[in-house]
């Protein structure tokens, strides 16, 4: 019988096929979907994220791990819903205009979803006007903005000042490889997360404040 530790290892190694076997096995054995999520899937992504930061793994490994986690999530989602676990917070997420790099944004979306957020993913290269419309339509608690390039960081600054000028109250969290805490403060964002693993804690702290 496979364990949560086996599942975590399979996700870290990006073994989708094994994930697709172990998750149903665990559910069948009576392990709660919430435990699968919190004790295997999320810690696995946190671990791969840490290893990536330490240059111990490269982008392809990060991507296969994320795919493995996503497949695990798809299996447990109906079980989470039937267990009555409803999203506590609503989040919008996108990359800023001109930036098509979505690996980081997708990881944060997975982690937020895993943490029980309802995540509306606006995709890549999203203009400030589209962000505003989406906020008005969905009324999210938090907006996540991502930029991988320094060439697109000015677009991040523009979105924040545009929303502030319109007096939009949504909490704004920013991230991406070149983004820093001091840049987040400089452009008037509410929070900064250095990686997908800490994006959950940062968002929860921000929403509790």
């Amino acid at each position: 019988m496979s364990t949560l530790i086996d599942l975590k290892e399979a996700v870290v190694k990006g073994k989708r096929k094994i994930v697709n076997v172990i998750v149903p096995e665990l559910l069948e054995a009576g392990v709660a979907a919430k435990d699968i999520l919190e004790e295997a899937l999320i810690p696995a992504m946190a671990e791969i994220g840490e290893r990536f930061k330490r240059n111990e793994v490269y982008v392809p490994e990060m991507l296969v791990a994320a795919r493995a986690m996503k497949e695990g999530m798809l299996i447990i989602e109906p079980h989470l819903i039937s267990a009555g676990i409803r999203p506590e917070f609503k989040a919008l997420i996108c990359t800023v205009e001109g930036d098509l790099h979505d690996i980081g944004k997708n990881l944060v979306a997975i982690m937020w979803k895993g943490a029980g957020f309802e995540v509306i993913d606006l995709g890549v290269s999203v203009s400030k006007e589209t962000v505003l419309e989406a906020i008005q339509q969905h009324q999210p608690h938090i907006l996540g903005l991502s930029a991988l390039l320094t060439t697109t960081m000015p677009a991040m600054r523009e979105v924040v000042s545009f929303l502030r000028a319109k007096d939009i109250k949504v909490k704004i969290m920013v991230g991406g490889a070149p983004v820093t805490q001091s840049y987040a403060e400089e452009i008037g964002a509410d929070a900064y997360s250095s990686d997908a693993a800490s994006a959950v804690d940062v968002a929860k702290r921000l929403l509790a404040s």
Binding site: N55, Y58, V59, S125, T150, P154, A177, P178, V179, T180
Partner: protein, 225 residues
């Protein structure tokens, strides 16, 4: 003024040509390409080199053949030396000759994968060389897992449609590698006429604030983005 150049390997051909053209001899510390992947580590590496250069009593200035490079140059400081870096985003900005033009291009044509002559020497360019690197690096994986890794990696580049190759008066060219990459990925090749003028001005000691970020002793390099 006694000067030391800290440079990314990406510029080696261009700098070698400029030193000959300008009859200049400036000591150079080259660093490997790709440090911008981890800006924190990059900053630590460059700062450590500055610390060792501070021990050279006659040295007064360090110039950088870099841009802000993902933030790797942001905040570099020296107690004793003046630091000067092009106010560009990276090697692409520097060779394009204008950071605003780079930003505009990125915004208008975000599906562009920018390359310079130097980057074409890297094994990270999407296409046959990158795939060969993945096959070698993950040689211990079984075929299924290797196929997954290759497919996932290729998908990370799926949003690109063209290579924008910034070409300059540099005499060495690796354009054939860009062509190979385009063929493999189904992209088009769009040459962009850049120039070596920004690097030339850096070596000649120009410090115009719109084009160069300068930190005097005790100050930190600050790129506003």
């Amino acid at each position: 003024m006694a000067t030391h150049l800290m440079a990314c390997e990406v510029f080696r051909d261009e700098l070698t040509q400029l030193f000959a053209e300008l009859h200049l001899e400036i000591p150079v510390s080259y660093f490997e390409m790709g440090l911008h992947d981890n800006p924190v580590t990059m900053r630590q590496r460059l700062q450590a080199q500055i610390a060792s250069l501070e021990l050279e009593p006659k040295l007064e200035r360090v110039i950088f053949a870099y841009g802000v490079c993902g933030g790797g140059l942001q905040g570099l400081t020296s107690q004793r030396l003046t630091l000067v870096a092009p106010y560009g985003h990276d090697c692409i900005s520097v060779l394009m000759g204008n950071r605003r033009e780079h930003e505009k291009f990125q915004k208008e044509q975000p599906q562009s994968y920018f390359l310079s002559n130097g980057w074409l020497k890297s094994t990270r360019i999407p296409g046959p060389q990158r795939e060969a690197w993945i096959r070698e690096h993950y040689a211990d994986q079984d075929q299924d897992d290797l196929d997954d890794l290759l497919e996932a990696d290729r998908s990370a580049f799926s949003h690109y449609k063209q290579i924008v190759l910034v070409e300059t008066e540099c005499k060495t060219s690796h354009r054939n590698r860009a062509e190979e990459s385009c063929q493999s990925m189904g992209w088009t090749l769009s040459p962009y006429k850049g120039s070596l003028s920004w690097l030339r001005d850096l070596l000649m000691g120009e410090q115009c604030p719109d084009r160069f970020v300068t930190a005097r002793p005790g100050e930190a390099l600050k790129f506003t983005l």
